[in-house]
């Protein structure tokens, strides 16, 4: 089974975000980055399928040079090779981003494409489905289980409010994976060593024959949300803050 896993590099989860002077994006200079968590789960799902059915896992990533970090991580965890589309995708809308990914994987003719459900920076949750449409593949999203069958897959989708649903579709297909599909593995020392000799194919929008298109959705301004609720904050040492909170919960909110 030839599996492609699309991964994105995003600012680390506990980053202190500041708005850039342009007001159109966040200040990137002192940010740390990591693999988008849902994508880490997509990779995990891909590696498990390969362990069970054999084949190949290819990590696919569109991002600037710094994204090499998560590509190495994917290779160290067990991906066989990688494709790095060396482009800054920050200003791209998800259709433009999916066009890059589609152009890079078309010649690979994968059996299965896996993506995370959504990115933790933009949170649009669209790139996977758009990629499926551009590649002419059936898709399913918010998937918590993937089971490969002869020429088909059966996935378990999460619905809302504790409901689930099984869906079957023929391969090739695309599946957008929900976080938590299986416990994430760590890269082993051996894996990290091996990763160094694995192939990373580097391409660009130009080498893929894609001309920049005007975005059809424009991000005009980013800003920190205004607080609408007044939170009573207790500060000082933990004992003091805790005592104040208990006092308020008993005599003001009267909930305990």
């Amino acid at each position: 089974m030839k599996i492609i896993v699309a991964v994105k590099q995003v600012p680390a989860r506990d980053s202190q975000l500041r708005i850039a002077a342009s007001g159109q994006w966040i200040e990137e200079a002192d940010l740390a980055y990591e693999i988008n968590e849902p994508d880490a789960y997509a990779l995990e799902a891909g590696l498990r399928l390969k362990e069970k059915h054999g084949g190949e896992v290819i990590a696919l990533c569109a991002g600037p040079e710094r994204a090499g970090q998560i590509i190495r991580e994917a290779l160290a965890k067990g991906a066989d090779r990688a494709i790095h589309i060396v482009e800054d995708t920050t200003a791209l809308d998800p259709l433009a981003c999916a066009r890059l990914l589609a152009a890079a994987v078309k010649s690979e003719s994968p059996d299965l494409v896996l993506t995370g459900l959504q990115s933790e920076d933009l949170g649009l949750g669209q790139t996977g489905v758009i990629l499926a449409e551009l590649l002419g593949l059936p898709h399913s999203t918010i998937v918590v289980e993937v089971e490969a069958r002869e020429g088909a897959i059966r996935v378990k989708r999460e619905l809302e409010g504790g409901w689930f649903q099984y869906v079957e579709m023929p391969l090739p297909a695309l599946v957008a994976v929900q976080s938590g599909i299986g416990k994430l593995r760590y890269a082993t020392l051996m894996g990290i060593k091996k990763a160094k000799s694995k192939e990373v194919r580097r391409v660009t929008a130009a080498s893929l024959g894609l001309a920049p298109a005007a975005p059809s959705v424009v991000l005009e301004r980013v800003y920190l949300p205004e607080r609408t609720k007044r939170t009573q904050l207790f500060e000082g040492d933990p004992q003091q803050a805790a005592a104040q909170l208990v006092e308020k919960l008993r005599f003001e909110a009267r909930v305990i």
Binding site: P11, D14, Q16, L17, I19, P94, L95, E120, L122, G123, L124, G125, Q126, T127, V129, P138, H139, S140, T141, I142, E158, L159, E160, G162, F164, Q165, Y166, V167, E168, M169, Q178, S179, G180, P215, S216, V217, V218, L219, E220, R221, V222, Y223, L224, P225, T228, K229, T231, Q232, E235, P238, Q239, A241, A242, L245, V246, K248, L249, A253, V255, I256
Partner: protein
Amino acid sequence: MSVLVVLEQRSGQWHRMSFETLAAAQQIARELATTVSAAVLGHDISLLANELAATELETVYAFEHELLKEYTPDAYTMALEAHIDLFSPELVLFPHTYQVRDFLPQLATRLDRVAVTDVISHRIENGALTLVRQLFQGKVNADVRFSGDGPHFASLQAGAYRADRVAKGAAPVEVMRPSLEPANIRTRPFEPLRESQRTVDLGAAELIVSVGRGIKEADNIPLIEKLAAALGAELAASRPICDAGWLPMERQVGSSGQTVAPKMYMAIGISGAIQHLVGMKGARTVVAINKDADAPIFELADYGIVGDLFQIVPALIEALKKA
């Protein structure tokens, strides 16, 4: 130039977000000085269509087809694509449900458009629509606008608009019979199912102590259990804690878990991603304990302590013993 709002039902029951989105669509259409129509897709949905006919709409489109009985992204996309091609609405609005997330990007791509998903509010200036959505798990807001010609697509976040603002009226129902063939539907859905019966009913709990990523390790969970015991509260968690297997799934609060409305909800080490907030924003009193003063959970919190939970929680247990 008109607005189309696509509402969601399953087995003849409205999705609870449908009427929020209808109210939003009516409001936006009014502000844009245009009309709004609604679409609902399914099989044997005349009752639902009649219910919509009692609201202020230009037309109610009821998409009737055997192949719309069970949702599939292909059938929904094909039915709506043909309709939008024919009627050319300028703006098409959806509730941001799991189902919409599954097919809206496909539909928009077919029409060579990009949808704006998970919108929390809007503004109209000089007839131009600006949508507000959240980035970085709710830590940053963004103003977004469409460029180029319609149709434009957007989905609206749960709770962003109020369902009780739906304007009443009278609208004609038009039954649409989309041309769908089984051969064009590539996915085969099975009956939805619920996991094993729940043993914990968080929905009935008066006090809830909920724990998130800030707890760092499974070995630290007993600290929160102790606090819950001291308060006489039920223990709950955000998704990552249940994903990691540190607490059972049935204790998960949020869009994929339980929805709760206790007298008090104490969120410990939970930053407050929207998927979590939609599950607990009905709580009467919200307490947040978090090391990040900018965490979105403080948006909802009545009381908060910014600091290290490993110092604060033991102090809190002590203070409760004294009280």
